[in-house]
């Protein structure tokens, strides 16, 4: 079985079928791309997988465990992290405090421990260094630029050591230099064993980073293949350009 398996999941908002018996599977150790025109259901799929939205039908398995309609915290604790298209950081906490939020401990230990325990502090600083935000660590996160917020969200997901990360438009609104850096970080983590599923509109970014690539249209998967195959696929072109 694949690492992440979505079987025939459906979800509608009013009369709109955001997901229509959608099935995808992501193999362990890949950086899988997920593309499709606006409104094709990519973000809804992310929401349903990570528990932020409830599906009406279908099954989801992550690492062999049933995931359908779980709560977001449960999904996160299983090792499936995500970022949001509209970045969701904690604006009034400092950059460093943001890093520690995701490293929650269970039970009374949370009450008894200070958040800056040495091991976590070291790990948080390491990760901030990894995304290049160390000089800003004591600033309120609201002061960061759009791209820096994306990097912060990416970094604080990493502190919980997820085995898979869903990235929702990680390169949207980020400057080209930073996009390259981000791709490099993703590759490094992927070599360390983290599986990625990436939604992105920047084709250059997707084509150079992801393999395989899946294409969604009208709430269902219409194609899957290597970047070369996707580029030549007539169904995909039709979905993007219209008939």
């Amino acid at each position: 079985m694949s690492f992440l398996e979505v079987n025939n999941v459906s979800k509608s908002f009013g009369g709109i079928h955001a997901l229509d018996t959608c099935s995808i599977s992501v193999q362990r150790g890949t950086v899988t791309g997920l593309i499709g025109p606006n409104g094709s259901g990519k973000t809804t799929l992310f929401n349903v997988i990570t528990g932020y939205d409830q599906a009406e039908k279908g099954e989801i398995f992550f690492d062999g465990k049933a995931l359908i309609n779980s709560k977001p915290d449960h999904v996160f604790r299983l090792g499936l992290g995500r970022t949001f298209q509209l970045t969701r950081i904690f604006p009034r906490l400092t950059v460093l405090e943001n890093m520690h939020v995701a490293a929650q401990r269970v039970g009374t230990r949370a009450l008894l421990s200070r958040w800056s325990s040495s091991h976590e502090q070291r790990r948080a600083l390491e990760l901030l260094d990894f995304v290049g935000l160390t000089p800003l660590k004591d600033l309120p996160a609201a002061n960061l630029s759009y791209g820096q917020k994306k990097l912060l969200e990416f970094a604080y997901i990493l502190i919980a050591d997820p085995s898979m990360i869903l990235l929702d438009e990680p390169a949207g609104g980020v400057n080209p230099t930073m996009i390259n850096q981000l791709a490099e970080r993703i590759r490094t983590l992927n070599r360390q064993g983290v599986t990625f599923l990436v939604v992105e509109h920047n084709m250059e970014f997707v084509m150079s980073l992801c393999n395989p690539i899946m294409v969604m249209h009208h709430g269902a998967r219409i194609a899957e293949g290597t970047p070369q195959e996707i580029r030549k696929n007539p169904t995909v072109l039709e979905a993007y350009l219209g008939e």
């Binding site: 996160f76 604790r77 995500r82 904690f90 009034r92 405090e97 929650q104 009450l111 421990s113 958040w115």
Partner: protein, 337 residues
């Protein structure tokens, strides 16, 4: 280090205060100020850290008041030091009451939550009036009066108990602010759903903070009742108390440690002074209102966060000018002899 010395000096000043200014009129204001500082600090542990504005904490104040009065009456406790030992017990009773209240009200968010807390308060006040067999209705209840604490001494035990309560509440607030748990509360304030998605136990975190703050507010209610020697429904469950602690929190700075205390120190004596000066005609309310308008216009974030912002700006400015002057020094150094 400087901070620690400052705190010790401040604590000594608070301890020495009634010895220096022993006039009962002054120490009475000081006692009320300390009690409001404790209540606001407690309110801040919940509302300041989580961002959920509770406007019904007077319910816990009232429960604390009635709890200590009933304990003293039923167990025939004489006036003196013993009732002080019942203050924490009254706090625990208020906290126990806060568990179901919080459990229900915390299912809602933002504005709905505010309305529900107000509603809970307005359920409690008529109950104090109407459950005559317990509360004695509008006649109220009397508490034992300490005998033998004559003259200026009378206020001293109350002052030190109030101070101890404030230090305790502040210690708990500090501890929470620096714990993983407190970080979770602050994350809830900024984005509750995201915090939940990152594994923060939002439900139990909020409830625990709510109960802790009710505990301290209940203790304040109990001490207040003992100090006043009698309680009536309208004063034990006083909507002005809800407004007062919220305003003190806003003025000093929500979510900070020193803000609530500063807010209480500014507002409580001012209000008492105005009440004494102009009580006959109610002008003090106008002055009080004008003060608030000024604060909201000039310091919307509260005194402590605003001051902190200016301090950081000034520090950054000073560092920049220092760098500039250093560079010009280097320039001079390079001039050939």
């Amino acid at each position: 280090m400087v901070k620690k010395i400052g705190l010790v000096v401040l604590l000594i000043a608070f301890i020495a205060f009634p010895q220096v200014f022993s006039n009962p009129a002054v120490t009475t204001i000081a006692i009320f100020t300390l009690m409001y500082a404790t209540a606001t600090t407690a309110w801040n542990i919940f509302s300041g850290y989580t961002g959920y504005i509770a406007l019904g904490h007077a319910a816990f104040f009232g429960i604390g008041s009635y709890a200590i009065a009933l304990m003293c009456l039923n167990w025939h406790i004489p006036g003196g030091y013993i009732p002080f030992l019942l203050v924490p017990v009254a706090g625990l009773i208020a906290a126990a009451f806060a568990v179901p209240v919080g459990w229900i009200s915390l299912r809602t968010r933002k504005h709905t939550f505010v309305v529900i807390t107000i509603a809970i308060f307005f359920i409690m006040q008529p109950m104090a009036f109407n459950l005559r067999s317990i509360t004695n209705g509008s006649t109220g209840l009397s508490l034992p009066i300490p005998t033998g604490w004559g003259g200026t001494y009378f206020n001293f035990p109350f002052y030190y108990v109030a101070l101890a309560m404030l230090v305790f509440a502040l210690g708990v607030s500090w501890w929470i602010r620096n714990s993983k748990y407190g970080l979770g509360l602050l994350a809830i304030r900024d984005d509750e759903d995201r915090a939940l998605g990152l594994g923060v136990k939002t439900g139990s975190s909020k409830l625990i903070a709510f109960v802790i703050s009710a505990f301290f507010v209940g203790m304040v209610g109990a001490l207040h009742a003992y100090f006043q020697e009698s309680i009536y429904p309208a004063f034990a469950f006083d909507p002005l108390f809800d407004i007062a602690i919220a305003l003190m929190g806003f003025l000093g700075g929500m979510g900070t440690l020193s803000g609530p205390i500063l807010g209480a120190i500014i507002l409580e004596p001012t209000q008492r002074y105005f009440t004494m000066q102009f009580s006959a005609n109610g002008y003090y309310l106008i002055i009080y209102g004008a003060l608030f308008l000024a604060i909201i216009l000039l310091l919307p974030e509260g005194v402590v966060p605003t001051a902190n912002k200016y301090w950081l700006k000034w520090k950054a400015f000073r560092e920049r000018t220092k760098n500039v002057s250093n560079e010009s020094d280097d320039g001079k150094g390079k001039v050939r002899p």
